[in-house]
């Protein structure tokens, strides 16, 4: 078993998350639904609160001091994000409300304009609905073909990538870390292959940016999207990164105030990057909170966060793999690239019943199709339960999770 000490001082980290102290069903909370949304540390709550307490003003358009302070903070938040993922400055970072909005902006702003009949759009078989459904729309509206990179037990091989991408590929959109298996797509290879045939690449980083060090220079993708609320940030925050040249030529997806430079009755010109992609008053407090969240993660070190999660996951997996009544999906615990997500089913219990019974023991997990219905069909299961770990989870919590499964086994024995 993986008994080495965690690279994080987890007890200290936990003090920043007061919600961890609450009880659920008269039991102390074990929060293992981190892939859905993460808990929020005090420094982030403070950053959001201090915006409302100290500089509650609109941005970009005020002559007064408070508006200027808010604008500065909000714009600086873009710099923090750029630094966090290795982008080339704030011009390449537009704030969105979540990953889904980021994908839609690329699919409709870039995809509809550039994908044509006879082209193909390549996705993996394990895309989240938020990346699958927008590209289905682009395919239907342009007459392009949708193609899928085969996934074997959550693993995407280079050969499977080679089989899907060809001369007619115009767009490739792949999930970086799977929200079902925790496996890692070889995005560097995907980007290289796609660029060889002149295609553009979008990487869905919803499960990678919060959990693994991301460097866009290494990945080499054209677009990258993620959600703030899964990375210790406030709900209603997200990020769209795009290569500057692409964002410059790309059409905005939403139109209106704030995203213009000059408007006449019949036409308008767009604002500079990245504001051309942020129509209307943005989520100012959220953006400031998101930047604080990423600074918090950066202070701990993403390598450490990742290592901590990997150890917990390996530990829990090893315990589950010994259990004939638990079916775990995805590669085994020895598999190299596996982040903090475990999908499973227990005996002949339905995932809803499993998660409900785990909840009665204070353990919060998710159940259902995890916004990957076609993948569930492919796996031949109606649904799974999912436990996902983050930086504040402990080995004791992993134990409580594994032991709570006994209740499910008892009921469904």
């Amino acid at each position: 078993m993986s008994l080495e000490a965690s690279p994080l001082n987890v007890e200290e980290v936990r003090e920043d998350f007061p919600v961890l102290q609450r009880e659920v069903q008269d039991e102390s909370l074990v929060y293992l639904d981190n892939a859905a949304t993460s808990l929020t540390p005090e420094p982030v709550v403070d950053a959001v609160t201090s915006y409302y307490r100290e500089m509650n003003a609109n941005v970009h358009r005020g002559m007064h001091s408070m508006s200027q302070e808010a604008s500065e903070e909000y714009e600086r938040a873009h710099d923090v994000v750029a630094e966090f993922i290795g982008a080339d400055g704030r011009e390449e970072i537009a704030f969105t409300s979540n990953t889904t909005e980021g994908v839609n902006t690329v699919a409709f702003g870039w995809g509809l304009e550039n994908v044509e009949e006879g082209d193909n759009i390549v996705l993996t078989q394990m895309e989240h609905h938020s990346s699958l459904v927008p590209w289905q729309q682009v395919a239907q509206r342009t007459g392009a073909e949708l193609r899928f990179i085969g996934v074997d037990d959550g693993v995407v091989t280079e050969r499977a990538v080679d089989e899907a991408i060809d001369e007619d590929t115009a767009a490739v959109s792949v999930v970086h870390v799977s929200n079902v298996f925790g496996t890692v797509t070889p995005v560097e290879y995907v980007a290289e292959k796609a660029h060889d045939v002149g295609a553009r690449v979008l990487v869905d980083g919803a499960q990678s940016a919060p959990n693994v060090p991301v460097d866009l220079d290494d990945i080499g993708c054209d677009f990258f999207v993620f959600s703030g609320h899964k990375a210790l940030g406030p709900t209603g925050t997200g990020v769209l990164y795009g290569r500057r040249e692409l964002l410059e030529e790309m059409q905005p997806y939403e139109f209106g105030g704030e995203m213009i430079s000059r408007v006449e009755y019949e036409s308008a010109d767009w604002a500079d990057l990245p504001w051309k992609f942020e129509a209307g008053t943005p989520n100012v407090a959220g953006g400031i909170g998101l930047a604080r969240a990423l600074e918090y993660l950066d202070d701990l070190g993403l390598e450490n966060v990742h290592e901590h999660e990997c150890r917990l996951t390996r530990y829990a997996l090893e315990r589950l793999e010994d259990d004939p009544e638990v079916e775990v999906y995805g590669p085994p615990s020895g598999h190299g690239d596996r982040c903090g997500v475990i999908s499973f089913n227990v005996a002949d219990a339905h995932s809803h019943d499993t998660s409900d019974l785990l909840n009665s023991e204070g353990v919060a997990t998710r159940s259902g199709h995890h916004c990957a219905q076609p993948l569930m069909d492919l796996m031949g299961v109606p649904s799974t339960s999912r436990a996902s770990f983050y930086l504040y989870n402990t080995r004791e919590e992993a134990d409580r999770f594994v032991e709570a499964l006994d209740v499910v086994k008892e009921v469904f024995a």
Binding site: Q25, S351, D356, G368, Q373, P382, S383
Partner: protein, 127 residues
């Protein structure tokens, strides 16, 4: 505690549902799902003189949705279409004999929702 929901009767109906399968020559047929979990139920019913005389269901789901659909098929035989359409969440709860957490009410009423959907469609066609 949700553990209390999993009474033996519920589990028996989950493992061995009553009236499970397809019904040929059904007058009423309808299928629907619970979008939050993907659970799917199909309901078949034979109607004579505005009364349910036979009913079967098919589908996959959690213990609560399966047990509820199974119990429902027992209950509705002999009821008039109007009586079935007037059934409410409380009736389902009473039929199950357990307290449902808000998150599970949707599971419990899926079967009824599907059967009622079928009846509405049947009546619209007959009209």
């Amino acid at each position: 505690m949700s553990r209390d929901m999993y009474r033996q009767r519920i589990l028996d109906h989950y493992r061995n549902p009553q009236n499970y399968g397809e019904l040929e020559d059904a007058d009423v047929y309808y299928m629907d799902d619970n979008p939050s979990c993907g659970d799917e139920i199909e309901m078949y019913a034979v109607v004579e003189d505005e009364e349910v005389v036979d009913v079967k269901f098919d589908g996959k789901g959690c213990a609560i949705s399966m047990a509820s659909a199974s119990l429902l098929t027992d209950k509705v035989v002999g009821m008039s279409l109007d009586e079935v359409r007037e059934m409410e969440t409380e009736d389902v709860q009473e039929m199950l004999g357990i307290d449902l957490s808000p998150a599970r009410v949707k599971c419990a009423v899926l079967g009824l929702k599907v059967l009622e959907g079928g009846i509405v469609e049947y009546e619209a066609e007959g009209a």
